[in-house]
């Protein structure tokens, strides 16, 4: 196989990886905030359920979760998700990452001094205004380094989609490697992930600097 053919195939795979990455962030970041609210809820039932959900998400392999999301509907309800492979992957990634992000949000929110809420209350801010104007912007600054960590992990975790035979970069690299009996394609894939993460780290660093204005 010519190098150019291999690179083309790998690049196509990379686009799928990037797609998984971006869609997962898009859904898991807001979902994580909701989950963190549930986790901190004064309602004991809600917080217990959310705690259990987080425990499962963090306590079992993401690979297993991918398999469960894709195949469980068939084994339990007889519904075949064929053709919904990609959405299943996004769902599995999103609910998994939301659990991690939720705990990061919680750490950030709990780090804000009580006095900030009290000052806002006395000055007439309602609860929504207090959260989104006073608390959340400060939380963002606190959590950016942890979010960067998770985001970088996510780049590499997208390779787990190979377990559902999704044609992302790692799956393709493995196929070519097997066909050509060479580790070359896997090395190239490794380089792709590295460059991808280099860009992610750079972007996150810029965001961090931007948030450090005060």
């Amino acid at each position: 196989m010519k190098l150019s053919v291999m690179l083309t195939q790998l690049t196509q795979g990379m686009f799928v990886s990037v797609e998984i990455f971006l869609l997962t962030l898009l859904f898991s970041l807001p979902l994580g905030l909701l989950v963190s609210f549930g986790r901190m809820s004064k309602n004991k039932v809600v917080s217990a359920i959310v705690k259990f959900y987080i425990a499962i998400m963090r306590g079992t392999p993401l690979m297993l979760q991918l398999i469960v999301v894709y195949f469980a509907p068939f084994y339990i309800f007889g519904v075949n998700l064929k053709g919904f492979r990609f959405p299943a992957i996004i769902i599995a990634f999103s609910v998994n990452y939301a659990a991690y992000f939720a705990e990061i949000y919680r750490g950030g929110i709990e780090a804000i001094p009580k006095g900030q809420y009290e000052a806002a209350q006395v000055l007439g801010y309602n609860k929504v205004q207090t959260f989104f104007r006073i608390i959340f912007p400060q939380v963002l600054r606190i959590i950016t380094p942890s979010v960067t960590n998770e985001t970088i992990t996510l780049v590499k975790d997208t390779s787990l989609a190979f377990v559902l035979a999704q044609a992302e970069m790692f799956t393709i690299a493995k196929q070519i490697a097997a066909k050509e009996a060479s580790v070359g394609p896997l090395m190239v894939a490794g380089l792709f992930y590295f460059v991808f993460n280099f860009v992610v780290a750079y972007v996150m660093d810029r965001i961090e600097k931007k948030l450090n204005y005060y």
């Binding site: 001094p113 006395v122 000055l123 801010y125 205004q129 006073i134 204005y213 005060y214």
Partner: protein
């Protein structure tokens, strides 16, 4: 003068986990009055202030601003007014905290203007004019665009006073406004409060600064163990022959 008292707090009771910190506190403040609350740590001064500013819930007694009832107990259960009413009542007072509680991610000016704008009192332009005027008065005009973290403690506390004043409250509460400051910075903050007193701003000040309380107050309240031990004009209190009061004042003056 038939105006209702700005603040009317009656028979306030409050406990934390079985420990009764406020036993029976009543305090009426009329427009233009400056009242200082003094007393040893743990006497309940700050808790009383926090109940009056709705940061803590009362367990007994009643609270009203300008005749509007915020809370009252009926047959032993506390009833707070509805959200709308409480929102209206919160407009009556401002509070200056011991540790400022400025919003660190906002510039000095935005700290002052945003609450004004959100409350609907003024539009952005008007609020900024109001804010800049206050900053000028407090000697901080050049700090309008600075962030709180770049200011000294005294400057931060003056900003937080400006922030409270911008809302044009009927009464301003101070919760140990200089306790987090060194003596030099304390002076600049006390000067500002004295200036407000001279303009007959209605104020309730919890403080450990005896000399200041004596100079600035119309009335001083001495609290101990959750009750008002004694109260009166500064002269009455400082010339009292009550032994406990004298020990306390004497200790702090030296």
């Amino acid at each position: 003068m038939n105006e209702k008292p700005i603040l009317e707090l009656k028979n306030l009771r409050k406990s934390f986990g079985g420990n009764e910190v406020l036993k029976d506190i009543s305090l009426t403040v009329n427009r233009g009055e400056v009242v200082s609350i003094i007393g040893p740590s743990g006497s309940g001064k700050s808790t009383a202030l926090r109940c009056a500013t709705l940061l803590e819930t009362m367990e007994g007694g009643s609270l009203a601003y300008k005749g509007s009832v915020a809370a009252s107990d009926e047959d032993g259960t506390m009833r707070y007014s509805d959200k709308q009413e409480l929102k209206k009542i919160r407009r009556c007072f401002g509070l200056v905290f011991q540790n400022f509680n400025l919003f660190p991610h906002y510039s000095v000016l935005k700290n002052i203007t945003e609450p004004v704008i959100l409350s609907g009192q003024a539009d952005k332009k008007e609020a900024e004019e109001r804010g800049l005027k206050l900053l000028e008065r407090l000697g901080l005009k050049d700090k309008a665009d600075a962030y709180p973290s770049s200011l000294s403690g005294g400057q931060q506390q003056r900003v937080s006073i400006a922030r409270a004043l911008a809302m044009q409250p009927d009464i301003l509460f101070f919760d140990e406004p200089t306790s987090a400051l060194d003596p030099e910075l304390t002076g600049e903050v006390l000067k500002v409060i004295k200036g407000l007193a001279a303009e007959h701003m209605t104020m309730v000040i919890v403080t450990h600064e005896m000399k200041f309380a004596r100079e600035v107050s119309d009335r001083i309240i001495f609290m101990e163990n959750g009750v008002i031990h004694s109260q009166g004009t500064p002269d009455e209190l400082f010339n009292s022959d009550d032994e406990r009061l004298n020990t306390f004042i004497g200790k702090l003056e030296n």
